[in-house]
């Protein structure tokens, strides 16, 4: 009989692996991807395929060149690719996909050490990079109902309504009158990026992630509830405007799939609560008082960078002591 060498305990492991976790994220993204493809058609499909392929390819190429083991089998590059695609406007030119993928995988992820080492969410980093580099392309959206190009997202309409002065011809009602119904905003029949329009599809994904214990409620629920509550408090106690603020725009996609990125969010629960609330506050402040009508991108990236500091101040107290674990 051949007995294995003695090894250190424990001798059994939980069934989840890095790959199974990433696979679960991909599965959770299926509903919103499906709505995106249904809404936006062929170009959205091509962008999605290109983002997936180029993210995986860039990761493999980089690791080959650096003579490292190629780890595309863990599906993390595919997750980044799909999330990046969901962050693109459906009518963006196809060449934007490899450019964004390069930035996400090579610059944000691999140059900082690969899986787990990126200090910000790769897909969100790439979206910000693209928005700054190609502002026109990245802010023109197709309205899935009329199938025409429109720059007016629900959020930009709300912004315009709050910006009009008494002197200008059109009052706030002119702008708000163009808002899609809340039902359409919830189901996803509004202008936006490929994967951000359907709150319902994204929430189905969240439920799946919670059931599979890929994420806990702390970050997504506090973030989404925080954006709703803070908008309600700071923008005239208007429940319907607060609902628009979470259903239209990137709050659901960002809060469920990007703010929860393991590598760039705190590991302990107290830290996660502070992190998620901070992101909600930043999102609402940018939207209500800043120049942008969308605040998710910058708030996610800013909180990503605060993660080490948040972890430092929220290290759990060690059992049987008053000591904080250092960081």
């Amino acid at each position: 009989m051949e007995l294995m060498q003695a090894t250190s305990s424990p001798h059994i492991r939980a069934p989840e692996t890095t790959t199974s976790v990433m696979r679960d994220v991909l599965i959770a993204l299926v509903p919103t991807t499906a709505v995106g493809l249904y809404n936006f058609g062929l170009n959205a499909g091509l962008l999605t395929i290109l983002c997936l392929a180029s993210c995986v390819l860039f990761e493999a190429l980089f690791q080959k060149l650096r003579k490292q083991p190629v780890t595309i089998g863990d599906l993390s590059a595919a997750v980044t690719g799909l999330i990046l695609a969901l962050n693109l406007p459906s009518n963006a030119p196809l060449w934007i996909a490899p450019i964004g993928s390069f930035f996400a995988i090579i610059v944000v992820k691999q140059l900082f050490g690969g899986l787990g080492q990126n200090f910000m969410n790769p897909a969100m980093g790439a979206r910000v990079f693209l928005v700054i580099s190609y502002p026109t392309i990245m802010t023109r959206f197709i309205d899935p109902v009329t199938d025409t190009i429109s720059q007016a997202t629900p959020l930009s309409l709300i912004k315009a309504a709050s910006a009009v002065s008494a002197a200008s011809g059109d009052g706030p009602d002119y702008w708000l009158g163009q808002l899609p119904s809340l039902k359409d905003a919830f189901l996803g029949f509004i202008p936006g990026t490929i994967g951000e329009t359907s709150a319902l599809a994204l929430l189905i994904g969240l439920v799946y992630l919670l059931v599979r214990k890929v994420v806990t409620w702390h970050i997504p629920v506090v973030y989404i509830a925080g954006v709703f509550g803070l908008t309600f408090l700071l923008d005239g106690f208007d429940a319907s405007m607060s609902l628009y603020s979470v259903c239209a725009g990137g709050v659901m996609l960002g809060g469920i799939f990007m703010l929860t990125d393991y590598a760039s969010s705190p590991m302990n629960k107290t830290g996660q609560l502070i992190y998620a609330f901070g992101a909600a506050l930043l999102t609402v402040v940018i939207r209500l008082y800043g120049g942008y009508n969308e605040g998710v991108m910058f708030s996610v990236l800013l909180m990503n960078m605060l993660t080490p500091m948040i972890e430092h101040f929220t290290a759990p107290r060690v059992f049987g002591t008053r000591r904080k674990g250092a960081n």
Partner: protein
């Protein structure tokens, strides 16, 4: 009574179905037993017999090597064959080989001492020093030491640990079902020794039949309170069990007695009953022989010192694909590379895994998912301790308090990247203690 539990921990697969319904079977006596002088925490025992000497069942053959130590008694009657000096799990160990004459002749010292109503607290504590009883849950801490706290440590809570949270093992479960009364005898003796009026009997709620059996045996005796604790690993870890029931936290680096508690395992408690009511020192115990690597998993009553190979024979032998041998359970047990090793007072399980169950994938990079932080029952951040230890940055690793780790293995178990977290914490601990010794 509600369900008691602690914060942290994880749900491990029970894998107890192989043996939980199988009654305890007497293991056929081996031709020889091999009694190690290191079966407990503390000083090894000193051999007091010589080769050729005739010994009887229950006779002291190894004298306690100090206060924190315990006697070793012969588990058979027969002749001392040889005194071996062996290396067992990397430790030099003196082992007394006794050839079994099969007569099972008891030594003259084996006779009833008394029970909780006839003995004084003093008599019980003194008597335990000769009983050879040590913590049978795995640690092997001499019981008489545990029950003799310094006068400034007032004990107000005694907890019997029937959690048995380690997967696969069913020895405590079967004991609670089959020898309920003997366990309660021991419980009353320990209560008397500690001079406490009541005790908690904690059982994980996945052992409903044991809870029922205990409740009906306790009957109207209000001094023993049977409590269900949530089925969660490591519910049976001493500090976590105390916290679950009393909400107290054993201070870092401290002992249960620092918060007025004493915890004793089910098997240990039963051994106390056996010693005082029947005069039998700790020479036998229950051991679950199980896992995908044996053909017929079984709960055995074994003589201490029986070789593992003999136990495996009782379980129908090894399966063709058996590859790993573990003394104890899969979470905290030690894996060994041979079956030519004697069982000890703390061998409550012999787990043999086949290739499929034993396989653990190579580690991949940490993705900072935080599961290890969520499950740590002492609220450490294993990922950081491991990260800095592997970097060789011991000072930074130490700032995350690795010395508080109870080595339950929950972090390594849960890690999706298969990182050997608790192993690197052990490395950190050893290096820190070594560097402290030097300075």
């Amino acid at each position: 009574m509600g369900l008691f539990t602690f914060r942290g921990g994880t749900h491990v697969p029970h894998s107890k179905d192989r043996t939980e319904k199988k009654p305890i079977v007497n293991c056929p006596p081996p031709a020889s037993v091999f009694l190690s002088m290191r079966q407990h925490i503390g000083a090894p025992s000193t051999v007091i017999v010589k080769p050729g000497e005739e010994v009887h069942k229950g006779q002291v053959i190894g004298q306690a090597g100090g206060f924190v130590s315990a006697h070793i008694h012969s588990s058979v009657s027969g002749t001392v064959k040889k005194i071996h000096n062996l290396k067992i799990m990397g430790v030099d160990t003196t082992v007394v080989e006794i050839e079994n004459d099969g007569q099972e002749t008891w030594h003259e010292s084996v006779k009833r001492i008394g029970d909780a109503s006839t003995l004084t607290s003093e008599e019980i504590r003194k008597g335990l020093a000769d009983s050879g009883i040590v913590g049978m849950g795995g640690a092997g801490f001499p019981l008489h030491v545990k029950l003799s706290p310094p006068p400034e440590k007032k004990i107000d809570t005694f907890i019997i640990n029937g959690a048995e949270c380690e997967p696969y093992l069913t020895t405590d479960h079967r004991l609670m079902l089959e020898q309920t009364e003997e366990i309660l005898q021991g419980a009353r003796l320990i209560m008397k020794a500690l001079e406490v009026d009541s005790c908690y009997f904690a059982v994980e709620d996945n052992k409903g039949d044991a809870i029922e059996a205990l409740k009906s045996a306790v009957g109207s005796d209000g001094s023993i309170q049977v409590v269900s604790v949530k089925t969660k690993y490591p519910q049976g870890a001493e500090k976590q069990l105390i916290n679950a029931i009393t909400k107290r936290e054993v201070p870092s680096g401290g002992l249960p007695m620092d918060v007025g508690c004493v915890v004793s395992n089910v098997a240990t408690t039963k051994a106390v009953g056996d010693y005082f009511e029947r005069g039998i020192p700790l020479i036998e115990r229950i051991c679950t022989v199980t896992g995908s690597g044996v053909n017929e998993p079984i709960n055995l009553k074994i003589k201490v010192g029986t070789k593992l190979s003999h136990l495996v024979e009782q379980a129908g032998g090894l399966s063709d694909d058996a590859v790993k041998v573990i003394l104890g359970g899969p979470m905290m047990g030690n894996s060994v590379d041979s079956l030519d090793i004697p069982s000890t007072k703390t061998t409550g399980g012999l787990l043999i895994l086949n290739e499929k169950d034993a396989r653990i994938d190579e580690p991949t990079p940490c993705m900072r998912c935080g599961r290890c932080v969520d499950v740590c029952p002492v609220y450490l951040q294993p990922a950081y301790i491991s990260f800095y230890t592997l970097q060789g940055n011991l000072a930074r690793a130490e700032s995350f308090h690795p010395l508080d780790c109870i080595e339950c293995g929950s972090c390594s178990f849960i890690c999706p990247a298969r990182r050997p977290l608790v192993h690197s914490i052990r490395v950190a601990k050893r290096q820190i203690l070594e560097s402290r010794k030097k300075s």
